[in-house]
């Protein structure tokens, strides 16, 4: 997807707004929105790749101008509605209610299993590594790949590396493939590699800063064999 979220190399955004002694949450609603990932995830709203794709479908202007955790709220709403679990009219009606009554209490519910899930998932994580008998087509130090254009959907082929040639420096094994899982299909595991690009390959000799590299992770299908190099895909 050629979305606004794909920010690497974008010009004109200005200085990084570093906040000294920044709090974890900037408002109470951020604390609430932070729950909009793990619990809807458990309820089957989305996997992590779909969650990201939900965010990527925000309007570009809203994406850039809204506070970060609104993105999480958007993804939960997007998939909750898509799955038919959340009713848009109900959301609007209750939003109006809480806008007029911001201090009205939330419904109360207790569920020891959910509490257990929270404690377990934070320390155990939700690994994306998946067993596969697929053989790795590229070897560390030998490939010199470039990434093909971005198809529609949820892939993570950033614009700034597309068509650029780099070197495979790490091979990580097989992981959930976002181009499949992010679009609501199966895990379809693929090998993941870290590819190292020189600054001048990415930005051109004139614009590139000296003595530097960018490392970017790709799934094997993102790699197309670069012409005239060894270690290319069969």
């Amino acid at each position: 997807m050629n979305g606004v979220h794909d920010l690497g190399g974008t010009d004109g955004l200005g200085p990084v707004p570093v906040e000294k002694d920044e709090p974890i949450w900037h408002a109470d609603w951020e604390r609430a929105a932070f729950r909009m990932f793990s619990m809807p995830f458990r309820a089957g709203f989305f996997g992590v790749d779909q969650f990201r794709y939900g965010i990527e479908q925000m309007h570009p202007a809203v994406y850039l101008l809204s506070p970060y955790y609104e993105h999480w709220m958007h993804a939960a709403e997007h998939y909750g509605v898509e799955k038919g679990v959340l009713d848009p009219a109900d959301i609007e009606e209750r939003t109006r209610y809480y806008l007029e009554n911001p201090d009205a209490p939330l419904p109360q519910r207790s569920d020891p299993e959910l509490l257990e899930f929270v404690n377990a998932v934070v320390s155990a994580g939700a690994p994306a590594g998946r067993e596969s008998d697929k053989k790795a087509a590229f070897a560390v130090g030998r490939g010199a790949p470039a990434s093909p254009p971005s198809p529609a959907g949820a892939p993570r082929r950033a614009r700034y590396i597309r068509g650029r040639t780099g070197e495979v420096v790490l091979a990580h094994g097989t992981f959930i493939y976002p181009d499949s899982a992010g679009n609501g299909h199966g895990d379809a595991p693929e090998h993941v590699y870290t590819v190292r690009f020189t600054n001048s390959e990415l930005w051109g000799d004139e614009a590139a800063e000296p003595n530097g590299f960018v490392y970017f992770d790709v799934w094997e299908p993102y790699i197309v064999p670069a012409a005239g190099t060894e270690g290319s895909a069969a």
Partner: protein
């Protein structure tokens, strides 16, 4: 593409967002997707338990125990587990080492990926468009102008864009003059930004 229509470009106020989040939360509580106790517990973990003090403990151990450091650099996830550190958004961690001649810095240009188990939740600037856009294109300038870290051209700058589920983070250099310090005291001087690569530890 998506089956749901893209929303029109209206920017919500803080009050509107707060009301909408609360509405969604209320519905999800009623439907059993969330409970108030579980949501309170989840935020409590990242407020009180999981934060950069955990990464600092790993760094301090690596500074004082060469064998631990070697293991950490070859197996970040497994070696952090030795200290009981790991989990959500750090299922596959890779630790990259700063040296006299190499400076590493992490980013996620496509979203906001960050090694939660060792650094906690990311600061807003890490998740915002400015850092994500610029750190891959002009890392020296961003580090100098926005973070006060001026690297000579002789130091190689490596930017790690966390585009997969691998989570990179930085083992900073041990500051000069800290030879006599205990592991515990060292952990106290490791900064979050030094593990992102946007800063260095304070001179002791």
């Amino acid at each position: 593409m998506s089956s749901t229509p893209i929303q029109p470009p209206s920017i919500r106020t803080q009050e509107e967002i707060a009301a909408r989040v609360k509405a969604l939360e209320a519905i999800m509580i009623e439907k059993g997707i969330m409970t108030t106790e579980a949501v309170d517990r989840l935020t409590e973990i990242y407020e009180k338990e999981v934060g950069p003090q955990l990464g600092a403990a790993v760094v301090a151990k690596a500074w004082t125990d060469p064998e631990f450091k070697e293991r950490l650099l070859s197996d970040g996830t497994g070696t952090c587990r030795e200290l009981g550190i790991g989990g959500l958004q750090g299922e596959d961690m890779v630790v990259v080492e700063n040296t006299e001649t190499v400076h590493n810095v992490i980013v996620c240009t496509l979203c906001s990926c960050y090694p939660w188990p060792v650094l906690g939740l990311p600061p807003n600037w890490y998740k915002g468009p400015e850092y994500r856009a610029r750190i891959v294109r002009e890392p020296r300038k961003v580090l100098r102008d926005d973070f006060g870290l001026d690297l000579p051209d002789s130091v190689e700058v490596r930017v790690w864009d966390s585009s997969s589920e691998m989570r990179y983070w930085v083992l900073p250099r041990r500051p000069e003059g800290t030879d006599g310090m205990s592991e515990r005291a060292l952990a106290g001087i490791v900064t979050r930004d030094s593990m992102i690569g946007s800063g260095v530890g304070p001179a002791a």
